[in-house]
């Protein structure tokens, strides 16, 4: 295996789109429609990052990806959101997921986000460990959040003071 290269998504690449969809579909407990992918990728292509193995025979096939968005939350704070993250099975354990998350967070910080949010299954200890290892904390637990009937945690990484004030008071302010 060669080095891992990280690139942002080329929205015009149908191949990359199909490959990353395949990559995510394999692992996710929730099946996502093409609409969900397009919802993220068409609106925030700059917040989708792909990992490639430069030493692979087909080095144009992504072996990892992260899909995010950022928008105003309740008219009060800029919230980044990590929607999907996946790394191809044979590449796991090499810190690729962590790197993808770091790249995405950095981009969202540059874009002026006040906080970054995501949901993770309560039983997904690996994902929780990854995000909590980067400073995310569990804000609340959601009962039977997923179609597979599992509970979820809502995790937030605070980036600015705005993240720590209730929306009600930010809106009034």
């Amino acid at each position: 295996m060669g080095g891992i290269e990280y690139k942002s998504l080329d929205i015009n690449s149908i191949r990359h789109f199909n490959e990353l969809k395949k990559l995510i579909d394999i692992d996710l407990s929730e099946p996502y429609s093409i609409y969900v992918y397009r919802y993220f990728l068409n609106q925030w292509p700059e917040l989708c990052f792909l990992a490639f193995d430069s030493g692979s025979s087909d080095d144009d096939v992504p072996i990892g990806c992260i899909i995010c968005k950022s928008e105003m939350h309740r008219n009060s704070r800029m919230r980044g959101y990590i929607g999907m993250l996946a790394v191809e099975k044979s590449y796991r354990g090499r810190g690729i997921a962590k790197k993808l998350v770091e790249i995405a967070i950095n981009k969202m910080i540059d874009d002026g986000c006040d906080e970054i949010m995501l949901e993770a299954e309560v039983e997904n200890k690996v994902a929780l460990q990854l995000y909590e290892g980067m400073g995310f904390i569990r804000m609340k637990r959601m009962f039977r959040y997923y179609l597979n009937e599992g509970d979820a945690f809502k995790l937030i990484l605070p980036l600015k003071d705005k993240s720590c004030i209730r929306s009600t008071f930010l809106m009034n302010g």
Binding site: I11, N12, D25, E30, P31, Y32, S33, I34, Y35, V36, R38, Y39, N42, Q43, P45, K69, G83, L85, A86, V87, R92, G93, A97, I105, E115, V122, K125, V126, A127, L130, E132, G133, M134, G135, I137, R138, M139, K140, R141, M142, F143, R144, Y145, L147, E149, D151, F153, I156, L157, P158, L159, K160, D161, S163, C164, I165, R166, T168, F169
Partner: protein, 780 residues
């Protein structure tokens, strides 16, 4: 015909790439249809690559529920069905003129209804979806479909000619259908949540227009029972008889919200029948092929991805849970005082999440359509009844003040109702409910204090100082109540986070310390209230002394009458309130002491260097102060008590940590201190338990937990177990980490929050565990 009209009439299916109109659409004239091909092509030509076509209200949440044509995971039209499933005929008495290997009718009907009843439990107790449980039954779908039309003269929907099908199966399906309508009513009332609490994806079959009424349904079930009674008694007829009787118990459940019935006869019967069915060995007969299938997911309006059918286990005991939980709820009708109602709501759903149907009934049973509470209190009376247990005196106030206060009291009623409704929510919503309530209680408290200020009182939460006006007294009682409710909401929200596993060990210090700090305020608030009550009692006794000093005459007689009236009417209540305050103060003390021991243990562990109150994550994105502020966001706007700053929280930990030179003596001191605290807690818990179990037999305390004795006992018993575990943990920490810190302990040990069976999940133990070598487990 307009394009919109054409679309609204158009419904086509496709099979083998052939599009065909179905049912009544077959009669649609092609002139009524609009050809939109060109329109679509023109519109699609104008699309940009990045354009997303969506309704403005269609957000990501909607998106994650969107489906996709030709995607096997998301397109239910791609479900493969067998010939038997497609051609299953509900009006054929399967078993009659049987093919070789088929069972007779009663075998089939037993198997169908046995499975269906167990699917009711899967749907409700295991939170499964309707299409994968009840609606997977062809008969259920057939009946619901028939009920989308106005009622028929005959309740019997089936026409097989076989009474085992037409009467026994038919009446059972009707009964279950009736019950599903009741469940839908509960959902529509908004007291439970669609999807997370109960799935009601009825695929458009929830009109229930033709569903017979309760009397007819029960009569129909009786007809089914009569049919069974004519058949030779064997294990199949016994099974079916029990199932039909169980169904009629389900039909009667609506009485609890329609007529606020608190009778439990049908619930006892349900328990008895469910136990019999549970004890029976599982049937060795199969249901007719095709009678249960995924077909409905493929054919009807399905907004969800295909989902495999649920395979029910031997789960009749689920009905016992349902019946027992409803029985528990109905006990609230026996409440003799406002205190018993409050305590009921405090405990009934606190440790174990009750059955969803019971939780929904609770809200509707307590807060009724006629805007009364339990049919006896008006909203204002109910509010006053809540303030009463902690108020020293609720005298009449002038109409002007009453008018001025009215909007605030309306707010009090709203937040009080929210508190009640929250008490029956699922365990996650319960915590979120408190998050919202913190602001609401804070707001009503602030409004009440504002009125007090306007009235010229300088006191905040000081009850009835030196003969202040009755208005002040009245408002102060409400303000005190709101303050206590707010503090309790803050404490409950914070501690519930431990129960839900929302915190990491490093956060536990600041959270336990915060609850300790809140308890300090709560204790003060309760003391002030108690002082107020005592003062009122003293005032009444002082009347007696004044009376004795007076000479005989009219004035003395008047005072004597007043004194006797107060002694007779007010004094018992005031004494009870004092006893209740004692309970509240004890409860608060237990929480506070447990938190104190938790922070002391954290301090010891931090002195050993195996934990810190900073995020251990090795990441440049970690900002400890921001993380702290985010964790305390729910309280950030609360002025009283002021939220401790990050710096203050850091400083307080230092006070619980030992320097190396003083380690031995300080740790000994701490162990002794904790032991003393915990011993005291256990005595206090024992005392409370004694009162709970004896229905408040005694002079010093009143718990008001008569109706939730088991639940309250369990809660305090769990706290006692936690206290014992904390005691054991003190010793274990020293045993595992040694008499004093040595270098490298942080590399060998870490700390986790652990809970044990029988102990309180609100107070997990800071357990020292050996670090595992890295590289284990799945990684992404």
């Amino acid at each position: 015909m307009s394009l919109e009209e054409s679309f609204s009439n158009l419904r086509v299916d496709h099979q083998d790439n052939q599009f065909t109109a179905h049912d009544h659409y077959e009669s649609v004239n092609s002139n009524d249809l609009a050809d939109v091909t060109q329109l679509f092509q023109e519109l699609s030509d104008r699309l940009q690559a990045r354009t997303i076509i969506k309704d403005p209200n269609f957000d990501l949440f909607e998106g994650t529920h969107s489906l996709e044509v030709n995607n096997k995971k998301l397109d239910s039209s791609l479900i493969d069905l067998t010939e038997e499933e497609i051609h299953f005929d509900c009006n054929k008495p399967y078993g009659f003129g049987a093919k070789e290997g088929e069972w007779d009718q009663i075998d089939y009907v037993s198997a169908i209804l046995d499975r269906l009843m167990r699917l009711v439990v899967c749907w409700l107790n295991d939170y499964q979806t309707l299409p994968t449980t009840l609606l997977s039954c062809k008969y259920m779908e057939y009946f619901l479909q028939k009920w989308t039309l106005p009622p028929l003269d005959n309740v019997n929907v089936l026409n097989t000619g076989d009474p085992i099908y037409d009467d026994v199966l038919g009446s059972c399906i009707t009964g279950i259908g009736y019950f599903t309508k009741f469940a839908r009513e509960l959902l529509k009332a908004g007291v439970i949540f669609e999807e997370e609490d109960l799935n009601f994806n009825a695929m458009g079959l929830d009109l229930y227009l033709g569903l017979p009424n309760k009397v007819k349904t029960l009569k129909y079930i009786n007809k089914g029972l009569e049919t069974l009674s004519l058949i030779h008694d064997d294990k199949r007829t016994i099974l079916l008889t029990n199932i039909l009787k169980l169904t009629s118990c389900l039909v009667k459940l609506e009485d609890h919200i329609l007529f606020y019935s608190s009778t439990t006869q049908h619930l006892d019967e349900m328990i008895d029948l469910a136990q019999k069915l549970y004890d029976e060995p599982e049937l060795d007969k199969a249901y007719p092929v095709g009678s249960f299938s995924m077909e409905i997911q493929k054919r009807l309006a399905n907004q969800f991805p295909p989902k495999k059918l649920v395979e029910p286990s031997s789960n009749y005991d689920g009905f016992i849970v349902l019946a027992n939980d409803i029985k528990l709820i109905l006990k609230i009708a026996q409440a003799n005082s406002s205190l018993e109602i409050i305590q009921f709501a405090n405990f009934f759903n606190k440790i174990r999440q009750l059955h969803v149907i019971a939780r929904a009934i609770f809200s509707l049973f307590v807060m009724r359509d006629d805007r009364s509470v339990l049919g006896t209190f008006t909203l204002h009376d109910f509010l006053q009844a809540h303030v009463l247990p902690i108020a020293n005196n609720l005298t009449k106030i002038s109409p002007q003040i009453e008018n001025a206060l009215d909007p605030i009291l309306q707010d009090c009623i709203s937040v009080l109702f929210e508190w009640y409704q929250n008490s029956s929510q699922n365990t996650c919503r319960y915590r979120q409910g408190y998050n919202r309530q913190i602001l609401l209680w804070d707001s009503v408290q602030a409004q009440l204090e504002n009125v007090l200020t306007q009235l010229g009182s300088s006191s905040r939460l000081v009850v009835n100082q030196s003969g202040t006006a009755q208005e002040n007294n009245f408002i102060e009682s409400y303000a005190s109540w709101a303050f206590v409710m707010k503090l309790n909401a803050m404490i409950e929200f914070t501690l519930k986070g431990f129960d839900l596993d929302c915190y990491k060990p490093f956060e536990s210090y600041s959270l336990f310390w915060y609850v300790y700090y809140l308890c300090e305020y709560l204790q003060n608030g309760l003391n002030i209230i108690e002082t107020g009550i005592q003062r009122t009692i003293s005032d009444i006794h002082a009347l007696n002394k004044r009376m004795k000093k007076l000479k005989a005459g009219e004035k003395k007689d008047r005072l004597r009458d007043q004194y006797h009236k107060l002694m007779e009417l007010d004094m018992p209540g005031l004494q009870d309130r004092l006893k209740y305050m004692q309970y509240e103060r004890n409860k608060c003390k237990i929480t506070q002491s447990l938190c104190l021991v938790e922070v002391v243990q954290f301090g010891i562990l931090a002195s050993y260097n195996v934990i810190t109150n900073k995020n251990p994550a090795n990441s440049k994105f970690v900002n400890d102060e921001l993380i702290y502020k985010l964790r305390f966001k729910p309280f950030s706007s609360i002025g009283s008590p002021e939220t401790p700053t990050f710096t203050l929280s850091q400083e307080t930990l230092q006070k619980f940590m030992f320097k190396e030179s003083e380690f031995s003596s300080r740790i000994e001191e701490s162990l002794k201190f904790m032991k003393g605290q915990l011993n005291h807690i256990e005595i206090t818990i024992g005392e409370i338990l004694r009162y709970v179990e004896s229905d408040d037999e005694g002079e010093s305390m009143m718990t008001g937990t008569r109706l939730v004795k088991e639940e309250a006992s369990e809660y305090f018993t769990q706290l006692k177990k936690s206290s014992e575990l904390l005691k054991a943990n003190s010793k274990r920490i020293v045993k595992v980490l040694g008499p004093k810190p040595v270098q490298g302990l942080e590399n060998k040990f870490t700390v986790m929050l652990s809970t044990s069976t029988g102990a309180s999940r609100f107070f997990p133990i800071l357990e020292v565990v050996e670090r595992k070598p890295r590289g284990n487990g799945r990684e992404i």
